[in-house]
């Protein structure tokens, strides 16, 4: 087929899209992609989508996901992608391939010569495939952005170092400790030990969901590094189940002091720096 014929076909298909737009829009609005929307919104999105696709076909960019016409339907695609991000993935996500069936059915009902019907089929299939690629691209980039932002937030969240008393620091560890988060926590703890001239550092693992050999190894390393700097480390918040798991795994924290609760660890820390807490007799009397 020559380029000239290709252009003729494209013109014919574009004309078909223009003449039958209300039929096509009605058929599309009934597909699962749009039924979740309010009818008015669905009609508007279908119309925009159709105009964009016609433009793509007229300019011959039906195999190029970055074509001009697709740029105009990007807002619609972004809204489709945003809906899929909220819902469960897999079969429930909007899939623009369901638009192909009604469109091709209407095209074949046009009562045209067979070779034009076949060529037109090809053009329409191509443009919808390209549309699908564009939608996937948008979904993927949106997902990647979300993941990056959340990872940064997690790292920030994971490492508050709290000063409990002159010379006593606590670092509450929360969630799952992977190697990056563990390293950030260790480094900020050691830096704060120097900054506050802390004699005791409490590693509180109340919020840690699971302690495996890797996490235990990490806690141990942090404790030893703190000792090398001249500070003592206490590990607190070991829940009974975690204590049992650690014993079963054969984890030995060696000479690192451990306490059940942060309060116990704090009492021990006060003892190390030579302070005691006692009732105020005046207040009691």
């Amino acid at each position: 087929m020559t380029a000239g014929t290709g252009q003729t076909i494209r013109d014919r298909v574009a004309q078909f899209l223009k003449e039958n737009r209300s039929d096509i829009e009605r058929a599309w609005a009934a597909t699962p992609v749009f039924t979740a929307r309010r009818p008015a919104d669905a009609a508007e999105e279908c119309a925009e989508l159709l105009t964009g696709l016609r433009h793509v076909i007229e300019t011959g960019g039906e195999e190029d996901p970055s074509a001009d016409g697709l740029a105009t339907v990007r807002p619609v695609l972004a809204s489709l992608a945003a809906r899929s991000a909220g819902g469960p993935s897999g079969s429930d996500r909007p899939d623009v391939t369901v638009l192909k069936g009604p469109l091709l059915r209407l095209w074949r009902e046009q009562d045209l010569p067979e070779d034009i019907v076949h060529s037109g089929d090809l053009v329409l299939s191509n443009v919808l495939n390209t549309l699908r690629i564009a939608l996937l691209e948008i979904e993927l980039s949106a997902g990647a952005e979300t993941i990056l932002a959340q990872r940064a937030q997690l790292t920030e969240l994971s490492t508050p170092v709290i000063k409990l008393w002159d010379g006593i620091l606590a670092i509450p560890l929360i969630g799952t400790l992977d190697s990056t988060r563990g390293q950030v926590a260790t480094e900020s703890l050691l830096e704060q030990i120097v900054a506050h001239q802390a004699r005791v550092a409490i590693l509180d693992i109340t919020g840690v969901t699971a302690v495996d050999t890797l996490v235990a190894q990490h806690l141990l390393k942090t404790a030893v590094a703190a000792r090398l700097m001249g500070a003592e480390c206490i590990i607190s918040g070991i829940r009974p189940q975690i204590a049992q798991t650690m014993v079963q795994l054969g984890i030995d924290l060696g000479e690192v002091a451990t306490r059940a609760t942060l309060a116990d660890a704090f009492a021990r820390a006060l003892g190390i720096i030579g302070l005691t807490v006692r009732p105020d007799e005046r207040a009691a009397g």
Binding site: T186, I193, V194, Q197, R199, L228, G230, I273
Partner: protein
Amino acid sequence: MSATSVVELQDVLLVTIQGELTDEDAMALQEELTTNVARSSARGVLIDVSGLDLVDSFLARTLHDIAGASALLAAETVVVGMRPEVAITLVELGLTLPGLGTALTVADGLDRLNGSARRR
């Protein structure tokens, strides 16, 4: 370039290490210190490593040896002022310096040697 100085503070030897320490320097330091401890019958040795940004396995072993030799001469060894990055590196290398006393600052180290209340 490295500069080490040994200062006698009553019955404690204060050793300050500045800059990088080569293996020869480390060995010389070990010999000088042991001689000094024996001569002055010092009760304690404080090694200030806050000026060191690199501690290798040889230096770690030397510190361990110094502590061992000093203990034989009835002196306690305390390493003070180790930087966080140095501490992390040593731990990653598996050099945990067992049996070596540590303290945050020289003052803390002196407190520790004097066995006084560990309060600043």
